[in-house]
């Protein structure tokens, strides 16, 4: 395997909201490698630690333990961000600037020349579908437009690695489709894309590999094809030439059965019972029109993984074991929608 574009080893983040509150685990022992030119989906429920991971990778928070790197440079080192782009969830911009001025500002931070900045800004606005809004101030933008703007600023330096936090949030179906296409285009151009999402259909549509995070811990990671093909959740069989007597027998053995004209539709709960049904049908003289094992969908996989993790004792926040910070009182895994940060101004209000 090539040198990973993104790497995390035993990455750990602890949040200490204040001295009066107990510290909480934001991320626990994350091991992760994202290969170059890979589209990597990062899944998890709200509060699972997706944004925490991303913030640790892009240098917005320091990890309390472990190590992370981007393109071989330690995360947090300013140089690691030279070939990286990051779009936060619900991005915010300077309200009084228009999109060109905004992108011009971000271009300056990379030391780009003025002609390059303006050329790139125009191209990016075209690419994210904001070309028609180039003279409007960002304060007039809708949530979806801000999201697109977030993607545009993340690409200003033509990065090799793009880290996107919930890039589809706030977008309508057309917008989501366009962003998916954009991600696939970037992959075509050899870029690495790491994005978090809880919209599983989006992940399924564009990702090569995915990881599932549950309550600050990585519970699963692998190629989507491997993750999903490893488990068949049912079989659908379509038969023709089924004698009434055979149909009766098959209906009893199948999970469900129905007739539509000359065809009989059967379903079985797994491949084993599906195979038995198929054997009986063939022996009984029926013609097999179709035999389709149904794979587990990403949604089903995600829910199963979470249930399995819960069953191992991490599910109920009141009963799951608390992580420990060395030398300190037990630390509770973080939960809830927001990522609790020590410096979050909301906390100090």
């Amino acid at each position: 395997m090539d040198k990973p574009a993104i790497k995390a080893e035993k990455l750990r983040v602890i949040y200490r909201p204040s001295i009066f509150k107990r510290p909480r685990v934001g991320l626990e022992g994350l091991d992760l490698e994202v290969c170059p030119n890979e589209v990597f989906g990062y899944l998890g429920a709200n509060g699972a630690g997706k944004t925490t991971t991303i913030k640790a990778l892009v240098g917005l928070i320091d990890a309390n333990g472990g190590y992370a790197e981007i393109l071989g440079r330690p995360a947090g080192d300013a140089r690691s961000r030279e070939k990286m782009g990051y779009a936060p969830e619900n991005p915010y911009f300077y309200e009084y600037l228009n999109p060109i001025e905004t992108l011009d500002f971000y271009g300056r931070l990379f030391g780009m020349s003025r002609p390059d900045r303006l050329k790139r800004a125009g191209e990016l606005l075209e690419r994210v579908g904001l070309a028609g809004a180039r003279d409007r101030r960002v304060r007039q933008f809708s949530k979806g437009m801000r999201q697109r703007m977030g993607l545009a600023q993340a690409m200003i330096n033509d990065p090799e690695v793009l880290i996107l936090d919930e890039p589809m949030t706030g977008l309508d179906p057309v917008g989501r489709y366009e962003i998916r296409q954009l991600i696939l285009d970037l992959k075509e151009k050899g870029k690495t894309i790491f994005f978090s999402s809880h919209i599983l259909a989006d992940v399924e549509a564009v990702c090569d590999r995915a990881a599932v995070l549950h309550e600050a811990r990585l519970v699963s990671c692998g190629a989507l094809s491997e993750l999903l093909s490893s488990r068949t959740v049912g079989v659908e069989i379509i038969l023709g030439n089924v004698a009434p007597e055979l149909e009766k027998r098959l209906s009893v053995a199948a999970a469900s059965a129905r007739r539509e004209g000359a065809l009989v539709f059967l379903s079985a709960v797994d491949e084993e019972s599906g195979g038995k049904l198929l054997g009986e049908a063939v022996n009984g003289g029926a013609t097999v029109k179709r035999y389709v094992p149904t794979r587990e969908s990403l949604e089903e996989y995600f829910i199963r993984i979470r249930r399995e993790a819960d069953a191992e004792g991490n599910g109920d926040p009141d009963t799951r074991p608390e992580a420990r910070v060395p030398g300190e009182a037990p630390v509770k895994p973080s939960g809830g929608d927001g990522e609790p940060g020590t410096a979050n101004p909301e906390d100090s209000k």
Binding site: K55, D62, P88, Y92, F93, Y94, G341, T342, S348
Partner: protein, 275 residues
């Protein structure tokens, strides 16, 4: 590095000049300069002295108010509005961000106090005095006070003082809320202005024989950590057209050094912050 600092500074300037509070403060400053003539007229003695004093105070007040009202929310706003996410995820070091924000605000203050200073000097030179009945034409309007070197030096050092106060405001803003930062900056500003009185007060305590050892200790700490802003106040020299102190270069060096140290502390605090 300089490019990134300048990018942040320029953006801060653009942001600040669109802030309505700036114009409100500028109007207050202009009002204070205009009011100086009235104060001069009702005062006993040379009314030009009063006008110089009031005008310089107005320029200083404008700078300090922008520093406190805008400076103390400078970093906090970036965090609160999350604009900091897209900046610090670029190859911008936190120190570069702090220095950029500081320079951007200084640029804003320089423009505002510069405009008010020019307005004040024109006003002082042209119409602050009493019209001479014999003067005609342009001379009719040129009957104000003389623009002297001490007066210009006083204006420059007002800006130097503001540089120090702004650094303090940015430092508090990197660690605290705007309200708390404004209170703390105001305290530091007031203590800094009274800085030269502190040793005298300590001596006075000792002379009176009051048991003020703890008090003296804390006063000494206050004396050493607060900027000595009183050495940047050249209003007496400007009003009385006296000779300028010989150590102006040292005073300038002190102000620059103090500001740099405060900004380094701000950077250290900001580097520890999580977003």
């Amino acid at each position: 590095m300089i490019g990134r600092v300048w990018a942040v500074a320029l953006n801060t300037f653009r942001e600040a000049v669109r802030d309505r509070i700036l114009y409100l403060l500028l109007v207050v400053g202009i009002g204070a300069v205009a009011f100086s003539k009235f104060l001069g007229e009702i005062s006993v003695g040379d009314h030009l002295h009063v006008i110089v004093n009031t005008g310089l105070t107005a320029v200083s007040l404008l700078g300090v108010m922008i520093s406190v009202f805008v400076g103390t929310g400078l970093i906090y706003k970036e965090i609160d509005k999350r604009t900091v996410y897209t900046i610090l995820s670029k190859p911008v070091r936190r120190g570069e961000f702090i220095f950029g924000k500081y320079l951007g605000l200084l640029l804003t203050i320089a423009v505002c106090t510069g405009l008010l200073s020019i307005g004040f000097l024109v006003y002082y030179r042209a119409v602050a005095g009493v019209a001479d009945d014999r003067a005609t034409g342009l001379l009719y309007w040129m009957h104000g006070g003389r623009i002297t070197v001490p007066l210009l030096a006083a204006l420059v050092f007002i800006f130097v003082e503001i540089c120090v106060v702004t650094a303090v405001a940015v430092m508090f803003s990197s660690a605290s809320t705007p309200i708390l930062s404004a209170v703390l900056t105001s305290i530091i500003f007031t203590a800094g202005r009274m800085s030269t009185w502190i040793p005298e007060y300590i001596r006075e305590l000792a002379r009176r024989g009051e048991s003020g050892e703890v008090k003296s200790f804390f006063l000494q700490i206050l004396y050493y950590i607060t900027p000595n802003l009183s050495i940047m106040d050249l209003r007496d020299e400007a009003v009385n057209i006296g000779a300028l102190p010989g150590d102006l270069a040292w005073r300038l060096l002190y102000a620059v050094s103090y500001s740099v140290v405060v900004l380094l502390v701000a950077t250290l605090v900001f580097r520890r912050r999580r977003f």
